[in-house]
């Protein structure tokens, strides 16, 4: 019994979360999502919705997502690709009359959705975000070329070559202007103490996992 439940824990964080919070999605968000406790403070004025540069491309505006969270629409929210549209421009944050850290909440919700395996599978920003993090943490610094290639080739070799071809003008231009270095593919910039960086990040992840498991 205990064993199986721990198995489900390992197997499916989503199931665990569901089991833990049943229908109290607001509480779940407050305890598990970065800046989640702010969600309840929204007064539905909608200034964030109108302030977002990618607003026209959203299915749900931030203020609406906050309302959905209160209404317990867990699946709709976590499977939504709306928060992935955040460009981190902070317009919503500086205009919010309740001073909600909306950008961070959007990032937090996206991260949480991703960790529960609910984020839209083919969400391009999700992929890029993961690749970026992976890229910059592997050596401690961003390797722009590898990052770019990674993005291009995420859908396989053919697609990568096509994308690369489309972007050849850009690539060439950067190359000529000395802002892109082909040899980055073989090494490139890096932190000396990569081990230390890796270790501290691992530790940080562990601490965070443990905190989220036992909130407060």
């Amino acid at each position: 019994m205990g064993a199986t439940s721990t198995e489900t824990n390992m197997a499916d964080p989503n199931a665990t979360a569901l089991a833990r919070y049943r229908n109290d999605f607001l509480k779940e968000v407050e305890e598990r999502v970065e800046e989640g406790p702010w969600v309840k403070m929204c007064m539905q004025c909608g200034v964030c919705a109108g302030s977002c540069p990618f607003g026209p491309h959203w299915e749900h505006s931030p203020q609406k997502i906050f309302m959905m969270i209160r209404a317990g629409k867990r699946d709709e929210v976590l499977r939504s690709d709306s928060m992935w549209m955040c460009t981190s421009c902070y317009n919503c944050v500086v205009r919010c009359p309740r001073q909600l850290p909306i950008t961070q909440i959007m990032h937090g919700l996206a991260t949480y959705a991703h960790r529960l395996g609910l984020a839209p599978k083919l969400q391009p920003t999700r992929d890029f975000s993961l690749q970026f993090w992976d890229n910059c943490t592997r050596t401690g610094r961003v390797n722009e070329l590898k990052l770019t290639m990674g993005v291009y080739f995420k859908d396989g070799l053919a697609a990568g070559i096509r994308k690369g071809w489309e972007m050849r003008r850009v690539a060439l231009g950067l190359l000529k202007s000395g802002r892109l270095n082909p040899f980055e593919l073989f090494g490139g910039h890096r932190c000396k103490d990569q081990k230390g960086v890796a270790a501290m990040l691992k530790k940080a992840r562990e601490i965070e996992e443990q905190r989220k498991r036992a909130p407060g």
Binding site: P53, T87, A110, G173
Partner: protein, 300 residues
């Protein structure tokens, strides 16, 4: 002994042959003139950028930034950390404020830092290069070394997002910050103060993942510059610079526009105005040549 010394946080894009390497070049030249000593933080690491979130957790981002602070405190005690990249500055400052706001978070961070043999004391402050210029020098001081006023060159000051929000520079308005225009005027250029896209988002990192949506933003930014009769755009942010310059060819391809609007850094303007060469100003690092600036730089 230099006039001012700072712990320098160049950030990934400003490295040699990286997308903003010419930014770094011009910053170095500018600082030389102003007698500012920038000592790079030894073995600094990436700030995680805003876009790193899905992979990163909250704590991991803070730990990344805390590491840079810790290194600065250890090796360059008493010096403010200065970033030239908007994202580096924003993320570092955001982490600093969060860590100062929560003892728990600070403790956790240091516990993680221990793995790298470091400790964050919370002493060092982080500032953007533009803040340093405006607050530590001031427009009058910055004007003094000008030998080649950028007369007759029209600049659309494109501030973008992350040097502007949520923290802002020198307490200026988020909707209509004027510092970039003032810097332009300081070096004798013509600031197009009616330019109305100065704080429009260029799409940021989503220029990669959502190119069409981002390029719509970029199109607005460039078009408005043309409407104002700008010779070039000037910006304080490497990602803004890259996005707005690099994708013009794409937009031309896709939408049949004929954009060729140069996008420069404030530091390049100042370097040229201070008598620096095109190379010192990193003017060779552009896809769209800032001709008028290059001509000025060439003038004896």
């Amino acid at each position: 002994m230099a006039r001012k010394e700072y712990a320098f946080y160049p950030g990934c894009s400003s490295q040699l042959k990286a997308s903003a390497s010419n930014y770094l070049t011009s910053v170095n030249a500018m600082c030389k003139t102003l007698d500012v000593k920038l000592t790079p933080i030894p073995d600094w690491n990436c700030c995680g950028a805003s876009i790193g979130y899905a992979g990163a957790g909250e704590l991991q981002r803070h730990v990344l930034n805390a590491r840079n602070f810790a290194l600065a405190e250890a090796h360059l005690p008493g010096q403010d950390v200065v970033a030239t990249c908007a994202a580096c500055w924003l993320n570092a400052r955001e982490s600093k404020e969060k860590l100062h706001g929560s003892a728990q978070l600070l403790a956790d961070t240091n516990e993680a830092l221990k793995e790298a043999g470091l400790r964050y004391e919370g002493k060092a402050d982080v500032r953007h290069m533009v803040e340093v210029l405006i607050e530590d020098f001031g427009y009058d001081e910055l004007k003094k070394p000008v030998v080649k006023p950028l007369e007759g060159v029209k600049f659309a000051g494109y501030v973008g997002c992350q040097t502007n929000r949520p923290f802002g520079i020198a307490g200026e308005s988020f909707e209509n910050p004027l510092y970039l225009d003032k810097l332009v005027e300081t070096v004798g250029g013509e600031a197009l103060t009616k330019y109305d896209q100065k704080v429009t988002c260029c799409g940021g990192a989503l220029a990669f993942s959502e190119p069409e949506k981002s390029q719509k933003q970029i199109r607005d930014i460039v078009e408005a510059a043309y409407d104002q009769g700008a010779d070039m755009i000037v910006t304080p942010c490497p990602l803004c610079q890259a996005n707005v310059e690099v994708y013009q060819s794409e937009i031309n391809q896709r939408q049949g526009t004929k954009f060729a609007m140069p996008v420069t850094y404030y530091s390049q303007l100042m370097t040229v105005a201070y008598g620096g060469t095109a190379r010192e100003a990193g003017l060779d690092g552009h896809l769209i040549q800032p001709v008028k600036l290059q001509e000025l730089a060439a003038k004896k």
